[in-house]
Amino acid sequence: MFAVIGTVPNPEFPMLAGRVTLENGDICIQGRRVTVKRGTPALLAAAIKAGETFSQEEPFGYLVGDIGRGDGSHKLYQYLVKDLKQANFHTIVFHYLQPHIGWHSRIQSVLQKLTPKPILIADAGFMYVAKMSGRSNAYDLFTPDMGELAFLADELAPHPFYTRGFLLHEENHVPDLIARAYAHGNAARYLLVKGRKDYFANQDGVQAIIDSPLEEAMEAIGGTGDTLTGIVAALIASGMEVGQAAILAARVNRLAGHYAQPTPGSQVSDLIKHIPQALEDMLKRQKEYHEQS
């Protein structure tokens, strides 16, 4: 089983922990429904859709309402420090949480004691705080976009808002930015960089580039990075090795986007419904490729 930890953009939403299902396009947890627009609900919806192909059990969610005040995130951190001690997850994804170094350290000290150690994925605010804390190497996978990669590459920046101009993201600098992030210890064991081209990398550099199909409009659509993180998490939780899962997830996310025929005004829910078909098609292509070779 895998867990997804994040927030929903509603200050009244209570802290809830439990299995998350998808019903008529909304995610449901403990009798509460959340519309999928972007952020952690989009990640969860994509993970559930990807998991359908493997008849995977639904993810376990830890969710709380937070609109940037940090109050919800702090309540959730407090709960996690106790609850994760007894947890037995294969994979844990940390997502839209208010960055706070003190809480990050406490969560990390709990995670370090777990046996077997879960596969740890960090994206969004929790990736920021992992880097701020100098503890990026405690994670197995980060899923930054180009702007966030520049932030990881800038050893001084405490947040992407302070990334220095000379590092700002241009596609042809991606290998250099990846190398710089690893050189300063600011990258996880693996990176899946989301963008016009997706890059899978480790400390030895770029291992794979996934660049087709290309839908230019996807860059503008909020939540397409969340869906990629959700798909890769579901694939890893199914037992797939991180590298294989990352490359397949990038292909599936792009193909689902292609099937949606998006414009820059499309919403991520248009893409999510195509994930099962995209995953099925990619697995079929992989199988045919292996049979031919």
Binding site: T7, V8, P9, K37, R38, G39, T40, P41, D66, I67, G68, R69, G70, G72, S73, Y96, L97, Q98, P99, H100, I101, D123, A124, G125, F126, M127, Y128, V129, M132, S133, G134, D145, G147, E148, F151, L156, A157, P158, H159, P160, F161, Y162, T163, R164, G165, L168, H169, E216, A217, E219, A220, I221, G222, G223, T224, G225, T263, P264, G265, Q267
Partner: protein
């Protein structure tokens, strides 16, 4: 000895990073610092008044240490109270400046402006905000819910309803978009 050397190094690294999520607010004079301290403590923020580091050369002999991630909300609160800080800078690197480069992408019927990790897309004809993407702080999905689908001039600005540095980056993209929309 090697073990102790390692522990010492590790401990120094942790020490170095423990204030990575804090910032300094710099003010013109001590009276403003005292006023700001009262206001922010009343607002429930974890803050501390202290002496400035040598890198900060402007302002008075006191600064306020604050949660950097909430820079947008905190500076707005101070501005509304008539005591805007001269500067807000990261504790870890006080000389860093906020991002000031924008990336622009023209999709034909749509225009996208990116500042740091935040992207804002507007339909040119109607000037409707159609998408907000990027960012990782919890106010980003909230800002998107409040702004997407609204006409640019009717939507709330990130400065009004945002809290974090991601919200601040979106505010910069919003201002740049506003400047460009007036030219459309």
């Amino acid at each position: 000895m090697a073990v102790f050397g390692f522990l010492k190094k590790k401990s120094a690294e942790m020490e170095e990073n423990k204030n990575g999520d804090r910032g300094f607010l710099v003010f013109e004079n001590t009276s403003e610092v005292i006023h700001a301290e009262t206001l922010l403590k009343r607002g429930g923020w974890e803050i501390k008044v202290m002496g400035p580091p040598p890198e900060i050369r402007s302002g008075c002999d006191l600064v306020i240490e604050f949660p950097l991630i909430e820079e947008l909300k905190i500076t707005k609160t101070l501005q509304d109270a008539g005591i805007p800080p001269l500067q807000a800078v990261p504790v870890s690197s006080p000389l860093l400046e906020p991002v000031d480069l924008f990336q622009i992408k023209d999709f034909g019927s749509y225009l996208m402006v990116q500042a740091a990790n935040m992207k804002l897309t507007v339909e040119k004809d109607s000037l409707t905000i159609v998408n907000i993407s990027g960012g990782g702080c919890p106010d980003v999905p909230f800002l998107a819910e409040q702004m997407v689908g609204k006409l640019f001039h009717e939507a709330p600005s990130p400065r009004e309803i945002g809290h974090t540095l991601c919200g601040y980056a979106l505010q910069l993209a919003y201002e740049e978009m506003k400047r460009r929309c007036l030219q459309l």
